[in-house]
Symmetry: C2
Subunit: 332 residues, 2 copies
């Protein structure tokens, strides 16, 4: 009988470090498909910074943690290789919460077929968590207006690169903060950002001042770190700060201090934290908003693919080290 | 010819300390009233924490600073003692931006007559800056819901005491943070708050936990200070933080650090800073909201009155030292 690999979470990252000791790989029999079910062979699996939170014992967060012994949570794309469900045909490509496993047995709920013309990578880079998160954060909470200035941290990341391109298409001045010259080059020369700051090598304060002559109206935060205070201090009156990620602090023993709140009053600023699971109910509207930008060729993306389920843990660490160049995907 | 006293700002509080050296008192001739003008004899003048900002050289704030040599800005109530303006009769009691002076010559714009039954103290404590600020902050940004828990800092202050009473009338659990047992007693036993924390003497963390068994949905911030981190850590998912004042930090050389932003994502929290001048256009709606609570006897207030324009500077310092018990008013 044929078998497949499945990776479960068996220990929590108590020191916030991700390593092989947290996981257990099992070799399981490929299950029988019963009436109403489909069997999906996963081909492309998404790796996301949120996974560190999902592994942690934090029942206050926006979704419950993965239980110990459960298959590690992830989204992904796969092919239906066997179907006893009238809604799916063998050969369909579907996207959904697949988990860290080569095969998924499902009743089909939560899985959607890819639209024609949408590749597996485009599905995970644009129409899954990154694109929907960017669309929700920018439009629900950033309220961008033509002619305004937006600063995006983690600007070469899967969400940040989408946010910047959407804002650029809407006529904003778009400045991205990145951690390498290669990423700076990509967002400016490929994606069309108006400027980039390399937080590792630039003099942040003077570079930010130079690139934002009209200061900052929307601040889309994906990273945290020292850049936060500089951007915060440069906000305009009635500015909107959208807090989507704080990857620089997720692994810190002691999270870094935030800015004092006096400027929030003086400048009447709104800070809004959000997480995508609150917004799945808005999926049709979000896709309606996002799709035209993609169809008009205004959204570029790049995947950083690694091979093999056994390398998922290494890929996740690359995300936290900022070593990925594009949306992290595991090809199976 | 009769004269009157007028106090001008002549120096900025560069060290954020308020003292007599910042002001100059002039003895001026009571001016002649021309067509269209009214002469107001100020009887009750308001002192507010915002004044420190108005004195400072900060052109980024929500209203421009008082220029050096200008009469110090304030709101107040007075009696029209001479009128050549058809809209006002001699004897009318009016409220508006009076400034630190005994008499005000005006074309009447920006001055409103007190409604019948409204005393001078009620006008300044309820229907002026404190009440309107409380109403705006609580309803525009706090979105209180029956059964939720709200924590108000500066709870015995002019704004905080109003916020707490409005929220209590709306069926919330209301906890106030104050700086003395006398204030704690007043908000609980006179105003009907569900509990009080004396931040100077209580063990804040355990007292807060005890008083907020269902944690905190709305946090109305008037003070800043160490209490901020405790309340922030106790917010529920989808909590709203309304930042109205940071009086503990206004005079600090180095404003204290704010909380890290990770919980904003996990709990999808909104932080909103605001200042009343943005909302004068909503005055009719705000009064429509606020007035029924007052008419139904749900709003108590207390004024802390001091006598004589020459004591205004001392009164202002009492505010920053937390020594006032009630809305600071100068009686002239």
């Amino acid at each position: 009988m044929a078998t497949y690999k499945s990776i479960s979470l068996v220990q929590r990252p108590s020191d916030k470090k991700i390593g092989p000791h947290l996981f257990e790989t099992k070799e399981l029999d490929i299950p029988e498909v019963k009436d109403g079910q489909i069997l999906i062979k996963q081909t492309h699996m998404s790796l996301d910074p949120a996974m560190l939170g999902w592994m942690s014992e934090d029942r206050e967060s926006y979704i419950p943690p993965v239980e110990l012994g459960e298959v590690m949570r992830s989204s992904g794309v796969g092919e239906v290789v066997k179907s006893k469900n009238a809604k799916f045909a063998e050969g369909d490509k579907v996207m959904g919460m697949t988990g860290w496993q080569e095969y998924v047995l499902s009743d089909g709920s939560g899985f959607n077929k890819l639209q024609s013309g949408v590749t597996e990578e485009m599905a995970l880079c644009v129409f899954a968590l990154p694109g929907l998160t960017a669309t929700t954060g920018l439009y629900n909470f950033g309220h961008p207006k033509e002619g305004e200035t937006i600063v995006v941290t983690g600007a070469a990341g899967s969400v940040g690169s989408m946010v910047g391109q959407l804002a650029k298409a809407d006529g904003l001045r778009v400045i991205g903060v990145v951690g390498s010259d290669e990423k700076a080059d990509w967002i400016v020369n490929e994606l069309g950002f108006d400027g980039a700051i390399n937080y590792k090598t630039d003099d942040i304060e003077s570079k930010l001042a130079e690139l934002t002559p009209d200061k900052v109206d929307v601040y889309f935060e994906n990273t945290g770190g020292p850049i936060q205070h500089h951007v915060f201090n440069r906000m305009n009156a009635h500015g909107r700060i959208v807090v989507c990620g704080m990857i620089a602090d997720y692994q810190a023993d002691e999270p870094s201090a935030g800015p004092n709140w006096i400027p929030l009053i003086k400048k009447r600023i709104t800070i809004r934290g959000f997480a995508m699971p609150d917004h799945w109910g808005e999926l049709p509207q979000l896709l309606e908003k996002l799709t035209p930008y993609v169809q008009q060729g205004k959204i570029k993306y790049r995947a950083h693919a690694i091979d093999g389920l056994e390398n998922a843990e290494k890929g996740l660490n690359m995300l936290f080290e900022g070593k990925n160049t594009g949306k992290m995907i595991v090809k199976l």
